[in-house]
Each structure stands twice: as structure tokens, then as C-alpha cells.
């Protein structure tokens, strides 16, 4: 199956197999290894990407149905100031240790802040409930996302 994929603003033409997941296509065929692969059946969140703006587990998405979708991976940080703001906040708050879960959590946070500019800690917990971190204990991650949300909201208000 030949597909045209729109990933983080770039267009790729790629040949996929019927059983391929979006995760495999991103990592193996396109070399976009910022999206991680761990459990590979929807149990950890490290493979989270945005599909038409919504966070999904890329390991669960059949690649053949992604032809007309807009996909955002962590590689978007080069062109996305909001993702860079979340990233900076993670570094500043010490919310990264091994870093394996970080791309997935940052994208889940981006989707959350996109829908809720001032999320409460409970709303953040719910928004990233599908992303497991085995290092930090989550407190610093929650703080980082809340701080980033405040900055992003300020950025948006200044823009308009």
C-alpha cells in the first residue's frame, strides 16, 4: 500500500504493509525515532502522537488508514513554539530523568493545553493518565505541565 503521510508539517510517500502500525512506519520507515516503542499494545503511552489533533497510541493505529490524517510527532518541536515551551518547562522543573516517556507526555500535554488553557492538577492527571513514567513519580511532570500551560496561555493572549 502506497501512502502519502503528513507528519509534523512534512509530506512523506511511503509503502506500508497491511499489518504495519503507525508507530512502525514512523520509526522504521521514516526514521522518526522521537516517537518511542515500548509495550506495543497500548499500555504505556511512550508512542503517543497526535492524529488530527487528538492524542492516540501510534502502536494501535493501523498505518493504512493514516493517509489523509495530520500526524504530529515530537519532531515538531523545531516549528512549534508551544511544544518548545512545554519542553523547556520539563527541563526547568526536573521532570525528565531517563526521558523515554517524555515525547509521549509532551504531546499528551500539548493536546490537553490545546483544549484547556488552564488545566487543574486533576485535569492534568486525567490528561496524562495514559502515559506511564517509571522514574519521576509524576509530581514534577504535573508541575511542569501546569507551568507550561500558564506560559502558553500568556503567549496566546499576547499574540491576539
Amino acid at each position: 500500500l502506497k501512502l502519502t503521510l503528513h507528519v509534523s508539517g512534512n509530506e512523506y510517500i511511503v509503502e506500508v504493509q497491511p499489518a504495519d502500525s503507525l508507530n512502525k512506519v514512523l520509526r522504521v520507515y521514516l526514521g522518526l525515532t522521537g516517537t518511542k516503542q515500548a509495550c506495543d499494545y497500548g499500555g504505556c503511552g511512550s508512542c503517543t502522537v497526535l492524529l488530527d489533533g487528538d492524542p492516540v497510541y501510534s502502536c494501535m493505529v493501523p498505518a493504512p488508514r493514516c493517509g489523509s490524517k495530520k500526524i504530529v510527532t515530537i519532531e515538531c518541536f523545531e516549528n512549534d513554539s508551544e511544544v518548545r515551551t512545554i519542553q523547556d518547562s520539563f527541563v526547568k522543573n526536573g521532570a525528565i530523568q531517563c526521558g523515554f516517556c517524555t515525547p509521549g507526555i509532551i504531546l499528551a500535554a500539548k493536546a490537553l493545553i490545546g483544549k484547556n488553557s488552564r488545566p487543574s492538577l486533576d485535569e492534568i492527571r486525567y490528561g496524562i493518565a495514559g502515559n506511564i513514567c517509571r522514574c519521576t513519580g509524576y509530581v514534577k511532570i504535573l508541575n511542569a505541565i501546569q507551568e507550561a500551560a500558564e506560559k502558553i496561555t500568556l503567549m496566546r493572549e499576547q499574540r491576539f
Binding site: 497491511p18 497500548g42 503511552g45 494501535m60 493505529v61 493504512p64 493518565a129
Partner: protein
């Protein structure tokens, strides 16, 4: 044995989909696709050669009339919970189930048809729709047929669907009067499948006694089970802590499936705690129900 399908097909019409299902010997329907790779890892798909993706059939509408709520099979959990009709107290078990459904990554992909037809007795949606007495509309080469979801499941992974049939929608009849429903799921973590789930529908008479109660429990057997003896004990009485506690032991026999996360005794204990909470919540909603219905469609 490797999962090596040769084809991934996108039928554009229901007729095409049925034709493909009839012609292909080793095919599998893909709706949301969320269970596909888990089944693959458990070596359950090694005989599958054709994947039939329903995402282009346009079965993603929700229709609300005065009589019923129709949910087409490709409607995602996210879309359903946004629809105003599920906020009626009779349907509120759907909101309980989906509003805080975790993880959001699955809520955005999983479909109602997929959750019902995959026939996994731990999933939440079959339990909710069983308590609401949903009817399923199935379509095959000989046309449509309708079956109650309560008669749809035969065993683990086994439904009443024939090989060349697919489910096109679930229909929940609207019930006027003092009706309410509630749902609760018990999970080990936010990304796990539930250990147990309970959904209840309650209809009350004007004197607050119970006119009808339906209690369905998932995760306790190979199919979603009805707490029939428990319902019989509540029928006609005023539902409160005492009347519920008097009947809870009737549920013990339903539990026959244990796992390494939960043994039988543990499941029975959790089931009783959740059932009490869910039936009380459904009753409270029924007591305060003033039905307002409007036609809508998305």
C-alpha cells in the same frame, strides 16, 4: 506464527463490506483497531489474511429522536460522550463510563461497534449497553436483523454475528418517567482493562418503589452477566442501603472467572461494593429525573 495479512481493504459501502466478508475466508473487521496488535501479540491472528477496515463506511453518526438514541458502530468513545442525549439521566451510565475513560489515547480511537463486537467480557461498553437493554442492528447478505445485546454474547470472543455480518448500529430506547442509570468500573491502573465493572438501570414508581431494575456485571464470567436474583429481590421495594445489602449475596454465584490480578473472593467483595454504589446512584438519578428530550443529530 506470524501475523501476515496480505490485504488491507477499505470498502466504501456496506454492500461492499458484506461482499468482502462473504468472499474472504480468513478476514477480520477493523473498526477502531485498538485491539488488533494485542490480539496479534497473543498469537490469535496468525490465520488472518485480509483486514477489512470499516472507517470509510460513514457509520459515525448519532441520532436522537423522541423514542430512541441510535449510535452507529464507528462512533468513537470521544464523540459519544460529547453528545447531549447521553446526558439524560436514563442514559447517564454512558457518561459515567466514558467521561473519565482512561487513557484518552484509546478514548479517541475506540469505537462503540468494536467494543461491543470484540466480545471481551472485561470491557465497559458491553456492560453499560446491556443494562440499558440496547438493541443491535446487524446486517448481512439477507438484510438486517435486530438482536438484544443481552442475547448477543455466547462465550469469550463469541457473539451471535455470522461470518458475513456486521453490526451497523446500537439503539437504546428512551424511557419516559423516573428512570436513571449509573456505571462504575474498577481498574488496577488507568491503562489496564477493568477487573470488574457494574452498570445499573432503575425505573421508579410514583411512591419511590422500584418498578424495574437491571444490574449487569462484567469481568466475572466469560460473558457479561445479569444479577437476576438480586434484581428480583429489589423489585417492588424502596431501594436504599438496607434493601440493597439484603440482596447482594445473590450475586455471589455470578463470579466464576479469576485472574492473577483478582481471585474469586476478591472479585466478589469488589463487585458487592461497586454494585451498591451504582444502584444507589442510579436510584438517586431516577428520583430526580424530569425528562427533557430533543431531537438532535451529529
Amino acid at each position: 506464527v506470524l501475523f501476515q495479512p496480505k490485504q488491507y481493504l477499505f470498502p466504501e459501502t456496506i454492500e461492499d463490506a458484506i461482499k468482502l466478508l462473504s468472499e474472504s475466508e480468513d478476514c477480520l473487521i477493523v473498526s477502531g483497531g485498538v485491539t488488533l496488535h494485542e490480539l496479534e501479540k497473543r498469537d490469535l491472528l496468525s490465520n488472518i489474511r485480509t483486514l477489512i477496515d470499516l472507517s470509510r463506511l460513514g457509520l459515525n453518526h448519532i441520532r436522537s429522536t423522541n423514542d430512541s438514541l441510535e449510535i452507529e458502530s464507528s462512533v468513537t468513545f470521544s464523540s459519544l460522550v460529547k453528545h447531549e442525549s447521553v446526558r439524560q439521566k436514563q442514559m447517564y451510565a454512558i457518561v459515567d463510563c466514558l467521561e473519565k475513560f482512561t487513557p484518552v489515547q484509546i478514548r479517541n480511537l475506540a469505537t462503540i461497534g468494536g467494543a461491543i463486537c470484540s466480545a471481551v467480557p472485561f470491557l465497559d461498553i458491553p456492560t453499560v449497553f446491556s443494562s440499558l437493554a440496547a438493541k443491535l442492528v446487524l446486517i448481512g447478505p439477507n438484510g438486517e436483523r435486530i438482536i438484544s445485546i443481552r442475547n448477543f454474547y455466547h462465550d469469550f470472543f463469541q457473539t451471535d454475528l455470522n461470518k458475513n455480518e456486521l453490526m451497523i448500529k446500537a439503539v437504546v430506547e428512551k424511557r419516559l418517567g423516573r428512570t436513571g442509570s449509573a456505571f462504575q468500573s474498577f481498574k488496577r491502573t488507568a491503562v489496564d482493562i477493568p477487573i470488574i465493572n457494574v452498570s445499573a438501570f432503575v425505573s421508579l414508581k410514583s411512591d419511590n418503589s422500584c418498578e424495574e431494575v437491571s444490574v449487569y456485571i462484567g469481568g466475572v464470567d466469560k460473558v457479561v452477566r445479569e444479577g437476576k436474583n438480586f434484581e428480583d429481590k429489589l423489585a417492588g421495594s424502596v431501594i436504599d442501603d438496607k434493601s440493597i445489602e439484603n440482596g447482594l449475596d445473590e450475586l455471589n454465584d455470578l463470579v466464576s472467572l479469576e485472574s492473577f490480578h483478582a481471585g474469586l473472593a476478591y472479585k466478589r467483595r469488589i463487585m458487592k461494593l461497586i454494585t451498591k454504589e451504582v444502584v444507589l446512584r442510579a436510584t438517586e438519578r431516577a428520583r430526580s429525573n424530569n425528562v427533557i428530550q430533543e431531537d438532535s443529530q451529529i
